[in-house]
């Protein structure tokens, strides 16, 4: 569901730019925040707020890699595999994460908890190898650090699940 509040934010953005259409990218970010990926409803809401056709909005949404075209795990792990991380052994790190999570890059675990993907240079070259969990950086990632991270994420997710049960 795209909330009324989200739609209002899109309209406010449209008024802020010299041309309403410029708000298409931030509006898509809002739509994705609401639903986790770009849904038909999200495209529709952006199109309506900016007075564009749905196809037009979709043409933008499919160009940029950060707009997800399908549901993602609760934790999206993006591992950089560009040259600086490559020279600092990101490939063994990626293999290790694949083994630990039991999935290949580009896949989501069956329980919907984790999505693992490789991404292009994350501007973390002097702290390589680097990865992001839901867009926040984890740098100088050794295999041991990756294991500790996975444990931390597991606890976070358990805690979130517990809180949901309480509610």
């Amino acid at each position: 569901m795209i909330s009324e509040q989200a739609k209002q934010r899109m309209r406010t953005l449209a008024a802020r730019y010299p041309v309403a259409r410029s708000a298409v990218m931030p509006s898509l970010h809002i739509a994705q925040q609401e639903e986790g990926y770009i849904t038909d409803e999200g495209l529709h809401a952006v199109a309506e707020a900016l007075n564009l056709t749905i196809d037009d909005v979709e043409s933008v949404a499919t160009f940029y890699t950060m707009y997800y075209q399908k549901p993602q795990g609760k934790r999206v792990i993006k591992v950089c595999n560009s040259i600086s991380c490559y020279l600092r052994d990101c490939d063994p790190l990626i293999k290790h994460l694949e083994q630990r999570l039991g999935i290949k890059c580009g896949e989501t675990t069956a329980d919907g908890n984790y999505t693992l993907m490789t991404v292009e240079c994350l501007a973390s070259c002097s702290t390589a190898p680097a990865l992001q969990v839901n867009d926040e950086f984890v740098e100088n990632v050794s295999i041991a650090k990756a294991d500790a991270l996975l444990e931390e994420l597991e606890q976070e997710l358990q805690h979130e699940g517990y809180q949901q049960c309480q509610n």
Binding site: M66, I83, A123, C125
Partner: protein, 433 residues
């Protein structure tokens, strides 16, 4: 230690807040400029300082500003903070740690260029940097540094922070404008250049984040002071993002007359090659710059010296490869990047980067043939200069220079079916036996 300019005070606790930034002299340059400079005088000041673009092309900033078309259309400033050249991580650091320096640079530039709406295009992946810049802009509005009649002057400015969403091509200035206008990030034909017809058809100035961060200091301390650093044609300092096989990778700000060897070996900077191994090659300006051989270590890091050595200063990202690196493997990895990031608009780049990757892959995995090496060069020749924007050219840099410098390694892959060095090499195989 040389004097720091763009990274000065960057590690002061709380410097990302307006209050602390002001305690360290922040926004004094802006206050002073609005009182004592006419916009054109500021342009002259920046021209005299010799400041050049720190994004990739190294174009003189003041000259770029003076090219803005004189008509009655609204003018725009775009700060290019879409940092994504492999090896480069300086703008992210500036935005995360000292976002007000960028905001002050944006306001100064807008005043000098008579801009009334400025955009800061922050790469989508850099979430923290984006939040920090948004917070700094909000604080600057609150304090009256942005908005109507700034500090009681006639000058008014709106600043919009725009977040990208994952596309390397949007670092190319015309693609960046397309993206800002709400389209797919396809580059535009040039001319017209942005200074004539840019964003929304208005005269537009586009500067890199680090370039703008240099302005408060130049305005405060003068053009002559800034021009006192560096060389005759490459003045000032710049941040070098040092990565790869060095002991202390990091962002280091150095005057432009510093030898490359200082950056790599000095204990205050790189501290030498990882594992005390032998230096094999240097990629001096991000993955789009041609590879340099280890014997180029004594050149200085200015634009002209790096160009004379056969490469380019690019984004200032210095990537170090030591003796155990398979050059074919490293080039393959860099080429995959361009294949994935080619926007697909023009055929030579879209198809060429795909085939370059395929051929490099078969060479790397021991299925290549001798003629593949020539085929790689032939494809590079058919991309370079024949693509719509510089991305195609960039994709060929490491391949053309790599074959020229390390041809025997490519041939070794053909004749032996594996790398000459590093994992999978004869040496590694012998150890495993």
């Amino acid at each position: 230690m040389p004097e720091l300019i763009v990274t000065k005070d960057i590690d002061v606790p709380g410097i990302d807040s307006l209050e602390v930034y002001r305690q360290y002299g922040g926004y004094e340059a802006l206050t002073n400029a609005l009182r004592t400079y006419q916009p054109d005088n500021l342009v002259d000041l920046v021209k005299a300082s010799g400041l050049r673009g720190r994004g990739g092309a190294g174009f003189p900033a003041g000259m770029k500003w003076s090219f803005l078309a004189k008509n009655d259309k609204p003018r725009y400033l775009c700060c290019n903070a879409d940092e994504s050249e492999p090896g480069t991580c300086k703008d992210r650091m500036l935005m995360e740690k000292i976002p007000h320096r960028l905001v002050e640079g944006v306001i100064l530039t807008s005043y000098a260029c008579r801009v009334s709406v400025a955009f800061i295009y922050v790469r989508g992946e850099l979430a923290l940097a984006g939040r920090q810049v948004e917070k700094a802009v909000a604080e600057a509005y609150e304090a009256g540094y942005i908005g109507q009649n700034i500090l009681g002057s006639e000058f008014s400015l709106e600043v919009i922070v725009h977040r990208g969403a994952g596309a390397y091509i949007c670092g190319e200035e015309s693609a960046l404008m397309e993206s800002l206008e709400g389209h797919r990030g396809y580059p535009r034909l040039k001319p017209p250049f942005p200074a004539a017809i840019g964003l929304y058809g208005g005269p537009t100035v586009i500067n890199n984040c680090e370039t703008l961060c240099a302005l408060p200091a130049i305005v405060s301390r003068g053009a002559e002071w800034y021009a006192g650093f560096g060389t005759e044609k490459s003045k000032g300092t710049r941040i070098f993002s040092l990565s790869g096989h060095v002991k202390q990778p990091g962002n280091y700000e150095l005057p432009l007359n510093t030898p490359l060897s200082t950056l790599i070996y000095d204990e205050h900077y790189g501290g030498g090659i990882l594992g005390d191994k032998k230096l094999k090659a240097i990629i001096p300006g991000g993955s789009s710059s041609p590879i340099l051989s280890a014997d180029k270590i004594d050149i200085t890091v200015d634009y002209e010296s790096i160009a004379a050595a056969g490469s380019m200063a690019g984004s200032g990202a210095v990537i170090i490869l030591h003796e155990d690196t398979c050059i074919v493997g490293a080039i393959l990895r860099m080429t995959e990047f361009y294949r994935d990031e080619s926007c697909g608009k023009c055929t030579p780049c879209r198809e060429g980067t795909y085939w370059l990757t395929e051929i490099l892959e078969r060479l790397e995995h021991g299925h290549g043939q001798q003629k593949d090496i020539e085929l790689l060069r032939d494809i590079c020749d058919n991309i370079s200069g024949k693509s719509f924007c510089p991305l195609g050219d960039a994709a060929t840099s490491s391949i053309v220079s790599g074959i020229r410098l390390f041809r025997e390694e490519f041939e070794y892959h053909v004749t032996h079916g594996h790398c000459m060095v590093g994992p999978g090499s004869a040496v590694a195989a012998a150890v495993a036996d």
